[in-house]
């Protein structure tokens, strides 16, 4: 189909509109993060010329809010990475079994996973809070990793199962005939091919854990385990008359950076199509 100049124009306009709509909040936060406390209410998008400042970043990285923010950042990174890692490893094995083997209860597992992932988080937070307090998991990393797994595992299983189904089974059989054990065939023939799928899944899982707020704020009470999204709510201004908007904006920007970096880093791995050429195409 040949696209005329007019069609191109329409598409460009639509794309720009969507981009502006999606990126405006980010741009707004970025602009706000450079405003000094007195400048916050200047009624303009950008900081008042000459008053733009890095004070907010200083405050959260080296200033008073440092303790609050950096430990929260550390908690977030640690908890999200561990939750992602466990979810991906478990989901890889589970999805592989679902895609390859015929066993009773296969449908049940998939349905359960789906049910868990659509179950409203807020309804189990209160019971979890009580339970965690009784068994000593409240305000610990493990206390957050476990609920995060309930969020990340189902979606990981679904994504990976779909991915594994695309990998030709013959590859594995060929490996077995070539002298591989089941585990070797899985590791040497299937895992390298599944890598793009695993990366994609890992990134999705990481985002889910990274962005969580409800568990983060309900199941923690101190800096021992409080993740960034929850910690932001505890920011205070220099005095009670100052709102911490600038600092929160700066923190939000810093929290966004790892996500952007991740996507940029693994962009190539996410691109699939690696299986091409395995079998007659």
């Amino acid at each position: 189909m040949k696209s005329t100049g007019r069609q191109k124009l329409v598409w460009t306009i639509i794309s720009i509109a969507v981009l502006v709509y999606a990126l405006f909040p980010v741009a707004s936060i970025l602009a706000t993060s450079f405003k000094s406390p007195g400048d916050l209410t200047n009624g303009r998008f950008l900081p008042t010329p000459g008053l733009a400042t890095l004070a907010n970043y200083e405050q959260i990285l080296v200033g008073d809010a440092q303790g609050l923010f950096l430990t929260a950042l550390w908690n977030s990174i640690g908890i999200s990475l561990i939750a992602t890692f466990i979810a991906v490893v478990l989901a890889t094995l589970c999805a592989y079994a679902i895609a390859r083997l015929d066993f009773p209860g296969k449908k049940l597992i998939l349905t359960t996973a789906l049910a868990v992932s659509i179950f409203p988080v807020i309804s189990i937070v209160t019971p979890l809070f009580n339970l965690w307090r009784n068994i000593g998991l409240y305000d610990t990393w493990l206390g957050l990793i476990i609920p995060y797994l309930s969020l990340t595992l189902p979606i990981s299983i679904w994504t990976l199962a779909a991915f594994f189904r695309q990998i030709p089974w013959e590859l594995e059989q060929a490996a077995q005939v070539d002298g591989a054990t089941t585990w070797q065939a899985f590791r040497k023939a299937i895992v390298p091919l599944a890598a793009p799928g695993v990366f994609t899944t890992a990134i999705i899982a990481f985002f889910i854990a990274w962005n969580d707020f409800v568990y983060g704020i309900s199941l923690t009470s101190t800096e021992a385990a409080r993740p960034v999204p929850a910690a932001l709510a505890f920011f205070t201004g220099a005095s009670q008359f100052e709102s911490p908007t600038g600092a929160i904006s700066a923190a939000a920007i810093i929290v966004t950076i790892p996500v952007v970096l991740l996507v940029l880093l693994f962009q190539r791995q996410i691109v699939s199509g690696l299986t091409q050429g395995a079998v007659k195409g």
């Binding site: 060929a174 005939v177 050429g277 395995a278």
Partner: protein
């Protein structure tokens, strides 16, 4: 190098459907066996049972006299070439071929891996492509890589699952002769699944014809062609396929829809006592009566017929004669066609005529039929009444001798070519005595 013995092998699926039903085959060391049959006859399943990718429901499978039913594929030391090649897309051609060697940890040094892979690649003319990925190769090259992976290690036997079905006709012919020569040179026992007749006839020392999971006949291609055991084998082997004409026997003469045919008394005797038989006639048994030697003429019978049309192919021509069978026979022919995976069989006779023949469609003409070779079949059981088992066995024995000779001479040639190579040709001496 190994002998493989299949003893009453059965494969039953969960719903009780027997995909492979009670098959027994003895495969000798160095033999090239073809499993052939229409789709759904269980030939691929049987191959996968041998290699260990399918469980065996009952029966015994022996490799070198050792029962391997419960052994994992990797412990059977067999190499397999898959229909869709199953190359590892993330590995280079070199690593694809080296894969089995690398899995056998500690058994091969790095230099040895290098040497074996380079040798295998040279055999298959892949040397220039060793560093490329499978995705960048042509179909024929991918096929070679798959073969390379099979020959690189000293497997006991090669198993091929329709390896050429994804190639175009020209490449298929070329790869066919390469596989055949390679098998002779290496002298490795091979089992080859195909639905292609040409592959079956040209490659196999013996061909096993399967139908609905049951072994119909296993014999050399010549025995299958000349002494088929039943209607199915007779119809399946040969192209254009054998013509089947309903006939009655009266006074030693066959009354067919083509007219009365004189047949040798010994043939007629075999069908004595039956009212109706099916006459199996290969197209090349016919000839334009005008072009037949006077000396040869008494061996056959001449009849008049009107061809509907002819097809001139240069070296020969095909003529077609329609006939109108009774409903029962029509039903029988249709069943046979269905068994062979073909569409409804039109009640017509295909005759092969000399290219010089001037017979054309629409005119009545005289056609001669060599009655010495025709077969009579029982229309109910499909059994071949005129099969000469001894002659058949002799043909297969002959093929066996030829195989031993071919392997020996291929080995000698190989030794002369590469005095330095200790790889593939090295183990040859001990097998030369095999008959």
């Amino acid at each position: 190098m190994a002998s493989i013995t299949l003893k009453n092998l059965v494969k039953q699926y969960g719903d009780g459907f027997p995909a492979v039903n009670d098959i027994s085959i003895d495969i000798e060391d160095g033999e090239f066996i073809i499993l052939v049959g229409p789709s759904g006859c269980g030939k691929s399943t049987l191959l996968r049972m041998i290699v260990g990718l399918e469980d065996i429901t009952s029966g015994d499978l022996y490799i070198n006299g050792e029962r391997v039913n419960s052994k994992a594929p990797r412990d059977r030391n067999l190499a397999m070439v898959f229909q869709n090649y199953a190359l590892y897309p993330h590995l280079t051609v070199f690593e694809n071929i080296a894969f089995p060697l690398r899995l056998a940890k500690g058994r091969h040094s790095e230099e040895e891996v290098q040497r074996l892979v380079t040798e295998a690649a040279a055999t298959l003319e892949l040397t220039d492509h060793l560093q490329r990925k499978p995705a960048n190769l042509s179909g024929g090259q991918r096929q070679r890589v798959a073969m390379g992976r099979a020959i690189v290690r000293q497997a006991d036997a090669f198993l091929f699952d329709e390896p050429l079905s994804n190639l175009d006709a020209k490449l298929r012919g070329q790869m066919r002769s390469e596989i055949s020569q390679m098998q002779r040179r290496l002298g490795t026992t091979s089992v080859y699944v195909t639905h292609d007749q040409t592959e079956a006839m040209t490659l196999g020392d013996r061909v096993a014809v399967l139908k609905k999971g049951e072994l119909q006949q296993i014999a050399s291609p010549r025995e299958l062609y000349e002494q088929p055991v039943n209607l199915f084998v007779a119809g399946f082997i040969g192209s254009p396929s054998m013509n089947f004409l309903p006939a009655t026997i009266e006074n030693g003469k066959l009354q067919t829809s083509l007219g009365a045919l004189d047949i040798p008394a010994d043939r007629a005797a075999k069908a004595a006592g039956r009212k109706v038989v099916l006459v199996g006639v290969r197209p090349e048994f016919f000839e334009d009566a005008k072009l037949v030697d006077e000396a040869k003429k008494p061996h056959g019978s001449t009849f008049k017929a009107t061809l509907t049309h002819t097809e001139w192919l240069g070296n020969e021509q095909y003529g077609y004669i329609n006939f109108d069978p009774s409903p029962e026979v029509r039903e029988l022919l249709n069943n046979l066609a269905r068994d062979m995976d073909a569409d409804e069989l039109r009640p017509q006779v295909v005759v092969t005529l000399d290219a010089a023949s001037r017979i054309r469609g629409g005119r009545e003409s005289e056609i001669w039929l060599d009655t010495r070779k025709l077969h009579l079949f029982d229309p109910e059981t499909g059994e071949n009444l005129t099969r000469d088992a001894e002659a058949g066995a002799a043909l297969t024995a002959e093929a066996n001798e030829e195989r031993a000779e071919e392997i020996a001479s291929a080995r000698d040639a190989d030794h002369e070519h590469s005095t330095t190579s200790t790889g593939n040709g090295g183990g040859g001496g001990s097998h030369r005595a095999v008959s």
